[in-house]
């Protein structure tokens, strides 16, 4: 009789344990379901918000930026795919795609004179000139558009200098030395091999080598009527950047 009771106890215990486990996973499942429902709700709210404020997003650069950051914080990227709600309903993807194309056109059109380096400020000014006043873009938009284009292998890159940013769009990457020299160029406008060597703490040979490449692609021009010869950069020459 006792043995039977023993087995029974174990069996009862097992049944109880199973019941607890079931309950446990039931609880977990519940929680998961809850969470999923909440996320769904949140996404729906976000989509509703986006639809309601679609025009605002398209027209107001500041609002657009904050919206993007909000999306990023919950792991949503409205620009990621060409399909789906975000792209179709909002047209946000199109917005940056179109902007990217306009930027590429601008870079190609001006590269004959600046060698493929253009100040972000100049891009902004020229593109906004062509856009309606209620449809202006910000530097944040430009940077995002470049990032999107890079994913497509456009070869465009945003480089920061001390005070501002420039975009380069030439085939072949610029090395650290090239960009460092360009950052210096943006500050001083023009330089000699000596002045650059002393400002950057480089050997003259290193400056010369770096300048050679920039001369070859037309980013730098040499002025032999200066003593000693100096080097100038159309991309940072005021009259060039404001010319028609």
């Amino acid at each position: 009789m006792r043995r039977r009771a023993g087995v029974g106890a174990i069996q009862r215990q097992k049944i109880q344990q199973d019941k607890f486990k079931e309950k446990g996973s039931e609880i977990q499942e519940n929680q998961l379901e809850q969470m999923t429902l909440q996320m769904e709700k949140f996404r729906e709210n976000l989509e509703e918000f986006a639809t309601k404020h679609k025009n605002e997003i398209k027209k107001n650069p500041q609002f657009r930026k904050q919206f993007q950051e909000m999306c990023a914080s919950i792991g949503v990227d409205p620009l990621a795919s060409g399909k789906g709600f975000w792209c179709e309903m909002l047209g946000v993807g199109d917005f940056y795609y179109e902007l990217g194309v306009q930027m590429l056109e601008l870079c190609v059109a001006t590269s004959y004179r600046n060698g493929g380096v253009i100040l972000l400020e100049e891009v902004l000014r020229r593109l906004n000139q062509r856009r309606r006043p209620d449809n202006q873009i910000s530097s944040d938009d430009v940077v995002r558009a470049v990032k999107k284009l890079r994913v497509l292998g456009s070869g465009m890159e945003v480089v920061a200098t001390g005070s501002s940013q420039f975009i380069y769009s030439i085939p072949g990457e610029l090395s650290m030395d090239h960009t460092t020299l360009l950052q210096q160029a943006e500050t001083v406008g023009h330089m000699t091999v000596c002045s650059a060597a002393s400002s950057l703490g480089w050997t003259q040979e290193r400056v010369g080598r770096t300048l050679d490449h920039l001369l070859r692609v037309g980013i730098a021009w040499r002025d032999d009527q200066d003593r000693p010869a100096s080097f100038w950069f159309p991309a940072f020459f005021q009259q060039c950047t404001t010319a028609e």
Binding site: L215, D223, W232, Q239
Partner: protein, 175 residues
Amino acid sequence: MAEFEWPWQYSFPPFFTLQPNADVRRTQLDSWCALVVSWGKSNSVSQIDVTEASSLPVFKNNAISRALPVDGIKVVLDELAKRGNLEWTDKTRRRGYLLWRSPSEWGQQIYSWAQSTSRINNVCTLYEINQGDESADQEFHGLDGDILLKALKTLEVTGKAELMDFGDNQGIKFL
């Protein structure tokens, strides 16, 4: 006549140094040719003499103390000749006609004017064409005599006009 608007390159010191890299130089020469042609048109310059060219304002910018050196000027003029915008007067290549329009373009303009001023089947002097009151509003007004003759010859070749000699004067009959 409105003040000539200098392009940004004109204020850019290195523009007056021929750039070493071939691709960049090609861009530079494009800019130089466009500048010389538009400057010439704006200032009614019809001839350029190589020996005097260095003093022309188009080839030197005193504001930035830069001037295109003589061999640079020669390269630009050669390039203009290649593009049909300059015609050397002789083999020495010391002087050339600056043609911001080709002779046949001038010819066509003059013929249109002749049509609109009822000069067809009439004779008129060359003076009337480039100096007369009736052409004062035309682009070819004040056109250099030699270039005018070239233009009219293109009309002769296409049977639209017949050049005539009246001793001292030269005339043309539009057909």
